[in-house]
Assembly symmetry: C2
Homo-oligomer: 439 residues x 2
């Protein structure tokens, strides 16, 4: 590199490395991370209440396990590379395909298999507001039953997850790919490839509007513009289109069962049928759903999923139906912060023990251990010899609620001074009563 004089001052020292993050990646510092963990344990707690058990899978999979599952657009976003042994590998793009791999690999897992997984996924997306290249998903899936109760229970678990973080104003929009194909059949489109092409276009209704979608469908020679317009009108109406309910087709029956079960469980008010939901991922075959925050629709869907009855077939297990839901917990957390509803963090310790005089140190450290054993988070100030003022400033900076002062005289008397750092109040307490004084 050529050395320039003009820019040396603003550059870091040549021998040092500039500390920086990759675009689309994030650090969560303690206050935020503590709040995030509170949110995550609320969601996983809700999933456990709904009878889902935890699973963990690796971040890295053989590339062929992940390839061909997400459609062309998804595929481009995979982090693929060759490992040191020359194997083609990739970072997981979601938690659904690894789950399918697990179920196919351990064939004796009892079914229906209900699992949740909290894990990081990676997508080489163009970073944007609320969209990251590394983010967490929290998924609940049921493998091995085609029952509409399973679809409903995944959605129920998701709703309870959102409610666990205090959300009430959201809407789960439910569509159904099978029903959409049936509607297309009623319009005379019966070839699967043509159906898939039209679904991909319909998925853009929200983004580009009905006129543009109809034009694209016509331009691609899939339907004439007039017919495409009628199709869009049909699926844009409220509820399940009568053109399929009246024909008594299987997809419509199944969707009706899902809606009925959600109603019985008391979640009707959170549900809206929206046949324009098709979802981008290729593996969905039946119900598909997305969830919008009513007060912040701009962040996009915070919880999505659907039925994927054919994914297991890819791994040699035909006829293993499956359905799931995924909460985009990172996007959700960002949204909660924007709504002013993020859970409180409180990353500081409850107490800092300040030692006045080196000879009190032994006793102070013993007290630290006793308080921890009593379930009180605490630590010793790092400079036991320093002036009281300096140690108290440290306790305040650490966000502690109490400072405990221990000098040599107090060690002899078996007492300590407890100072409430919020109110400034302080008083002497018997040493063996300290824990109960720190409420």
């Amino acid at each position: 590199m050529k050395s320039t004089t003009s820019s040396t001052e603003s550059r870091p020292n040549k021998s040092t490395i500039e500390p920086r993050l990759l675009k689309g990646f994030r650090d969560f510092l303690p206050d935020e991370q503590a709040a995030r963990q509170t949110m995550l344990s609320g969601i996983t707690g809700a999933f456990e209440l709904c009878g889902f058990a935890p699973l963990s899978t690796p971040a890295i999979e053989y590339a062929d396990i992940l390839l061909g599952k997400y459609g062309d657009e998804g595929e481009k976003l995979l982090y693929k590379f060759e490992d040191n042994g020359g194997r083609q590998v990739a970072l997981r793009y979601d938690l659904t395909v690894p789950l399918a791999r697990v179920v196919a690999q351990y064939r004796d897992i009892p079914k229906p298999f209900r699992r949740y997984q909290l894990g990081t996924v990676w997508r080489a997306e163009k970073p944007a507001h609320g969209r990251f290249r590394e983010f967490m998903q929290c998924d609940a899936d049921i493998i091995g039953t085609a029952s509409s109760l399973a679809d409903a229970d995944c959605i129920a678990a998701g709703i309870m997850g959102l409610k666990s973080v205090g959300l009430e104003r959201f809407e789960v929009r439910i569509g159904h790919r099978g029903v959409l194909n049936d509607v297309l059949g009623q319009f005379g489109v019966t070839v699967p490839d043509a159906q898939a092409d039209i679904l991909r276009n319909l998925d853009k209704l929200d983004k580009i509007g009905p006129g543009a979608v109809a034009e694209t469908i016509a331009a691609q020679g899939l339907m004439d513009a007039d017919q495409a317009g009628r199709l869009i009108a049909t699926i844009s109406g409220a509820g399940v289109p009568t053109v399929v309910t009246e024909a008594g087709l299987a997809g419509a029956e199944h969707l009706r069962g899902v809606l009925q079960a959600l109603e019985s469980m008391g979640f009707g008010p959170f549900i809206r049928v929206d046949m324009s939901i098709a979802r981008g991922l290729d593996y969905y075959t039946g119900t598909v759903y997305e969830t919008m925050l009513l007060d912040l629709p701009s962040v996009g869907s915070i919880m999505s999923g659907g039925r994927y009855d054919c994914l297991l077939e890819t791994y040699g297990m035909p006829e293993v139906p499956a359905v799931g839901i995924s909460i985009g917990v990172d996007r959700l957390f960002a949204a909660l912060a924007e709504l002013g509803q993020a859970p409180m963090g409180g990353a500081g310790p409850r107490a800092v023990v300040c030692t006045l005089g080196d000879r009190a140190l032994d006793s102070a450290l013993g007290l630290v251990s006793e308080l921890r054993d009593a379930g009180i988070s605490c630590e010793a100030a790092p400079e036991p010899g320093a002036k009281l003022k300096r140690q108290l400033a440290h306790a305040v900076r650490r966000g502690a609620r109490y400072a405990i002062l221990l000098g040599e005289d107090e060690v002899g008397q078996g007492v300590v001074t407890v100072k409430n750092l919020a109110t400034g109040e302080q008083g002497q307490v018997e040493r063996n009563q300290v824990a109960s004084a720190l409420v």
Copy 2:
């Protein structure tokens, strides 16, 4: 690919992908993962009690952030690749270097900064017993103080973490790189490069024995064989070598402070000075420690760390001392299982609601929601129309403790039948009393 007749039967169908894991990577199925989560929350709980707050950093970093920190052997194990934007990136190898990057990047973080992080790391190791390519670490570090109390408190947090999972029989072996260099100085070796070469050899004492280490040191022309033998004898004795304590050197003073503080906190019985501990990683500068399970030494160190006062300098922050500890939680979990001390999982729901007759379904699903709201994990059996026997078999297979039977008559009477699946006992309960009957 050429088609062969001989092997077709044992191969999976050509159009399917064989579900498989990369070597050195693992799935944790629900029973195991539930137990693992219990262990992890015990450890993070202990760290929080000790005044450490959570941090989260990305799995992927710019390669230059990670390069040059781990020594040649570590470097070879990095998962490096080029991302879709042509950037050289790598998966994190540990949680320490990303922490140093964070502290250097957000310069206004108040210090001392006490954080813990639970996260996955990747190393392209040769897989072996208890050694994986993807594993979790749970670290506690204190940045910004050279106080020996900080070293002691990291070790204290680690010991409390291990005790939280029920371990009592382990030993933390503490060495000190500065003291070792001081000992080398007393032996006339004062050139840093030569000191580093000798330390690397001493780190192999456990593996290849004192004779072989002395020979290697002599063969490399670092010391003569006789001198090397005396050096090894000096550092193999109990406690801090008198050759440095008598000289009153700073490293020995610091180490004495660490040992004294651990004694005051009541952790003396877990500690042994072992000057032969040098640790492989290049970034350590002072205390270094490893932890062996007394009943299972073969798994190697389950908790290690040390002081790394110069790492921050790499990112343009000189004079920011730091110290930390890292629990290899995956290795620990495998060891606990081997010792028969793994925490219990219990991944099944508390109750499965069996519906007898389709018309009871609405009421059964309502009951499922009510029980979940009351904090009882439960689910509806997936085939509400099926025979009772089949639904009960499902409840047993799911590992439920109770089955709740709800038929159309019972809906009318406002009661349910609760069956204890362990004892076979069953009885009718008022519907609004079910939650309290499921203790």
